[in-house]
Structures are given as structure tokens and as C-alpha cells.
């Protein structure tokens, strides 16, 4: 398999806290890769390093073989690494159309209106384009966030806790949506909802105390003793 993003020895300490501590990581072309770990394991810091929101202290990140370790975040986005925020971060006082158009126009899309319509139809929000984003339901705001990610036409879409706060009915739709994105787009999924990760991911990386505890398929991760001890707990391991 070809690695889209590869990280070697990635490190970020905050004072004495080793948030990310020498992580090696491969994101392979066209996969859905889950990133899990207990609270404070360094998941969000890790993807912030990948997306460039936080500068790397040591280690190397490559995108399709090109070193992007010190590339500013906005240029990584232009190269195809898109990040959707853990806390919904749309522009509440702009219309849905403007929110998605901002994503589409920046990469020089020819027909911005058509791109917006397409991204909105992918997430099932056709017809809402003139609504103010801030007036949408929470579930729709999460979908709008994804539509903005899609309008960037990224190589890699990093989804930080996309199903947080969604109703269970909405989660099923969300899973179908994510599945429809691969293999054109490679997905890195940070997720607390274990059912969603186990169901969607091709491979899973488990972080604990800023280090990689295990990498493998959902079945391998379920069966991994170290992961069970550190994170999943007895009940889940038994089930």
C-alpha cells in the first residue's frame, strides 16, 4: 500500500507533558483509519501536528513523499490535507452557501456555485444553502462542517470527533457518508464512539500517553491485550 501521509518520530511536549511522544504513523491511500485512545492520549495534538495547527518539535511528516513538516497550515490545506474541527466551527453569521463557497473558491474551483451544490448534496443538505449557518440544528452544522471539508477536495480528510453530539439516527447517515468518500479521499477518523470506529475503520491506531500502543484491524485491536488493559476495559473485551 502507498502511504499518503507518513509521520516518523513525531514529538510535541507541552512543558513536562508529553502530549505526542515519538509517534510513527502511516496513513495509506484510500483507507479509513481510526485514531483512538483514552482522554488525554494526545489524539487531537497528533492531528494538529499533521494539519499544521501546532508546530512540530521533532520528527518528520511527509505527504505523498514530500516533506511537509514545516509547511504552514494553510499551505497544507492547499496541498490536500483538510481538517474538520472537533468543536463545530462553521461561520454562524454567514449563509450555508458562503460557508461552503469559502472552501471551494480558495482552491480555484471554476464554478463555485456548482461545487457548493455538489458538496451540499453529498451531505444531504440541498435546499438549505440560503440559511444562516448559525440557525441550523447541531447535526446539520456537523454535516456543513463535513461539506466544507469535501469542497476542499482533499486527499486526506481528518475528522475530529465527527459524531460527537449526534443522535443515533444521524450517526447511521454519517457512517454511510464517510464510506461513500473512500477511496477517492483517505479518511483519518478520531472517534470516541467505539461502535462507529470498529464499524468504519479499515485500520486503527491506538494512542496512549502520547505513544502508539497498537496498530491493526478492528479485530486485532479488539483482541489486543495491551489495548484492553489500557483503554477498552473488561466489558468490551468480553463482548
Amino acid at each position: 500500500m502507498v502511504a499518503v501521509i507518513e509521520a516518523r518520530g513525531l514529538t510535541r511536549h507541552f512543558g513536562g507533558l508529553r502530549a505526542v511522544d515519538g509517534v510513527d504513523f502511516r496513513l495509506e491511500q484510500g483507507e479509513i483509519h481510526g485514531l483512538i485512545g483514552p482522554n488525554g492520549a494526545g489524539k487531537t495534538t497528533f492531528v494538529s501536528l499533521l494539519s499544521g495547527r501546532i508546530p512540530v518539535q521533532s520528527g518528520v511528516i511527509t505527504l505523498n513523499g514530500e516533506d511537509i513538516t514545516h509547511l504552514p497550515a494553510h499551505l497544507r490545506v492547499r496541498k490536500g490535507v483538510a481538517y474538520t474541527f472537533q468543536i463545530t466551527s462553521v461561520y454562524p453569521r454567514l449563509t450555508v452557501f458562503d460557508n461552503v463557497a469559502l472552501a471551494a473558491q480558495g482552491r480555484g474551483a471554476g464554478d463555485v456555485a456548482a461545487e457548493v451544490a455538489q458538496a451540499l448534496s453529498r451531505v444531504g443538505m440541498t435546499g438549505l444553502d440560503q440559511s444562516m449557518a448559525g440557525t441550523l440544528s447541531y447535526g446539520h452544522q456537523r454535516l456543513l462542517e463535513v461539506a466544507m471539508g469535501l469542497a476542499l477536495r482533499p486527499l486526506v480528510l481528518i475528522l475530529d470527533e465527527p459524531t460527537q453530539g449526534l443522535a443515533s439516527g444521524e450517526i447511521d447517515g454519517f457512517k454511510a457518508l464517510i464510506r461513500s468518500l473512500v477511496p477517492q479521499t483517505t479518511i483519518l477518523l478520531i472517534e470516541h464512539n467505539m461502535d462507529v470506529v470498529m464499524d468504519l475503520a479499515d485500520r486503527i491506531t491506538v494512542l496512549n500517553f502520547g505513544q502508539v500502543l497498537a496498530v491493526g484491524t478492528p479485530d486485532q485491536i479488539r483482541a489486543n491485550r495491551a489495548v484492553q488493559d489500557a483503554y477498552l476495559g473488561g466489558d468490551h473485551a468480553a463482548g
Binding site: 497550515a73 461561520y91 482552491r107
Partner: protein, 314 residues
């Protein structure tokens, strides 16, 4: 009517009304209106930075003065004529805003306010310090030979009004085109959520620098035109008062609306003009008006109107 048609109709009607006003108003008020239009160009520039991009500058007097002196000094010392001098003022405002932006935009929020204020004060003191060339706090009169544009004497009421109107109309339409363009959308995105915009691939520094430079072009043009049309260049135009005024105009008329700066300038000008006939404490009235504004219409007149009635107002 589509929103686009409504927008153009409204703005062209406003321009037509302002143009016709010169024939209906007594000369005193026509001259006032010319002054207001030039100040409105200044405020439109301020609005591009503050209203649309979210850059609260306290240093725009510097860019206004850069335009005024960028026009006035070449006229005085080099014998330039009106058109090249006006262009020099325009360029001076934009260039200085760009240079100040390179440094000041490393900061944000309150720090940005303080840094821009500091630059403006430094500019004001520089004008005083170099009084051999700048005329210091006395300033200087713009030679009447230079105040002729395309054969029209700018000291006459009609030529002055037409010139002010032309600049105002150009500034207004350019602003309308700008804020309705893709770049205008990005400016607003910076104001609304800078971090999100960065993660959509926009360089906040670059966008804000561009917006500030455009804002400086407006301020520079307004400063140059003010000096040229009213015949005087002075350091008082570089004081903090001229950084605060465009902010007041914009807040009163409606930040982030194309017509707001003009409406704000018009109302504030006459508020001061009328109340100062009755009392020396006219600033008290201005202050009371602003308190009322903050309490009852914090988005300004057109901002409130947009929120309640005209959703399509740009």
C-alpha cells in the same frame, strides 16, 4: 427583483440623489456635502478594514495624512500639478498602510489597536519634527495653480462638488464590487473566524495585509482630495481625532455595510455642525448619541436595518 438588482438599484439611486443635491442645496450645504463625501471615502476605507475584515485600527489618521502630505509636499516642493499629486497621495496612503500592516498585523485585537495608534502618533510627531519641509503644526496652503484639474478650478463650488462626487462614486462602487467578490467573502471570513479560515487554506496575514492596504488606498485618496479640494494641508489631520472620526462614522452608519460610512459621516457631520451652533459642549451631544447607539443599535443604522428588514443589504 433579484438581490443583485436590488443592490445596484439602491446604490445607484443614492448616488443619483447625492448628485442632484448640489442643485437643490444652498451653497453652504453643498460645500458641506462635498466635505462629507470626501470624509465618507475615508470612512469607506476604514470600513473595509474594520467593518469587513475585523481590523480595529486606531491609526487611520496616519494613512489619511499620508495621502494629504503625499499630495501636498510634491505640490509645494516639486511643483507637481493636481492629477499626479492626487495619485501620489493615493499611493502614499496604500503603501504606508502596507508597511504598517507588515509590522502591526503580527498582533491582533487590543495589541493591534495600540500598535496602530502608536504608529499614527509617531507619524504625527514626525510631521511636527520635520517642520522645515512639512510646515509643522501650521501646515501650508496648497498653491492655487496646482488646484486645477482637467481645466476646472477646484476652488469653485461646482468643480469641487463634482470632483468630490466622482471620487465618492468611484469609491462606493469599488467597495460594492469588492465586498461582493470572492475576496470580499474571504475578508468577512477572517473577521468571523480566523482559525477556521486558515484551515480552509487562507493565509490570514496575507488577507489582512491586502485588506489594510486597500483601506489605506481609500484613506490616502481621501486625504489627498481633502487637501486638494479645500486647499490646506496640516498636521492636525494626523491627530488621533482623525483616527476616531472614521470609526464613529462607520459605527453610526453600520459597520460592514457599503452605504454605512456615508450615512454615518453625513449624520455625524450635521450633528456636530448643528449642535455646535448652540453649545460649546457639542462633543457631549456626540457622546450621548454614541451611548444611545451602543444601547439601542449596536450594529449601526444600516446594520440594524439589514438585521430587521433588508437582509440583502451588502
Amino acid at each position: 427583483m433579484t438581490d443583485g438588482a436590488k443592490i445596484w438599484t439602491l446604490h445607484l439611486l443614492v448616488l443619483a440623489a447625492v448628485f442632484v443635491a448640489q442643485f437643490l442645496l444652498p451653497p453652504y450645504h453643498a460645500t458641506n456635502l462635498a466635505r462629507i463625501m470626501v470624509l465618507a471615502v475615508f470612512a469607506m476605507g476604514y470600513n473595509i478594514a474594520f467593518g469587513y475584515t475585523g481590523l480595529l485600527s486606531l491609526g487611520h489618521a496616519l494613512f489619511f495624512a499620508a495621502g494629504m502630505y503625499g499630495m501636498g509636499l510634491p505640490v509645494w516642493h516639486l511643483g507637481w500639478l493636481s492629477l499626479p499629486a492626487l495619485i501620489a497621495g493615493l499611493v502614499a496612503g496604500g503603501a504606508l498602510a502596507g508597511v504598517v500592516g507588515l509590522l502591526a498585523l503580527r498582533t491582533a485585537g487590543v495589541s493591534f489597536m495600540i500598535v496602530t495608534l502608536m504608529f499614527a502618533q509617531a507619524g504625527y510627531l514626525t510631521l511636527l519634527y520635520l517642520n522645515t519641509w512639512t510646515g509643522g503644526d501650521e501646515g501650508f496652503v496648497v498653491l492655487s495653480e496646482a488646484r486645477v484639474l482637467f481645466g476646472f478650478d477646484l476652488a469653485t463650488d461646482t468643480a469641487r462638488f463634482i470632483t468630490a462626487f466622482t471620487l465618492f462614486a468611484a469609491g462606493l462602487l469599488a467597495c460594492l464590487l469588492l465586498v461582493r467578490s470572492p475576496f470580499g467573502r474571504v475578508m468577512v471570513a477572517m473577521r468571523e473566524n480566523e482559525e477556521r479560515s486558515r484551515m480552509l487554506g487562507y493565509d490570514p496575514f496575507r488577507i489582512k495585509l491586502l485588506a489594510l492596504a486597500v483601506s489605506g488606498l481609500y484613506a490616502g485618496l481621501a486625504g489627498a482630495a481633502y487637501g486638494m479640494l479645500f486647499g490646506y494641508v496640516g498636521a492636525s489631520f494626523a491627530t488621533i481625532q482623525y483616527s476616531i472620526l472614521p470609526m464613529l462614522y462607520v459605527l453610526l452608519g453600520g459597520a460592514g455595510t457599503v452605504l454605512g460610512p456615508f450615512l454615518g459621516a453625513l449624520l455625524m457631520f450635521y450633528l456636530i455642525d448643528i449642535t455646535s451652533n448652540y453649545t460649546d459642549a457639542y462633543l457631549f451631544v456626540v457622546g450621548a448619541a454614541l451611548v444611545g447607539l451602543v444601547l439601542f443599535a449596536p450594529k449601526g443604522i444600516l446594520g440594524t436595518l439589514r438585521e430587521r428588514v433588508w437582509r440583502w443589504l451588502p
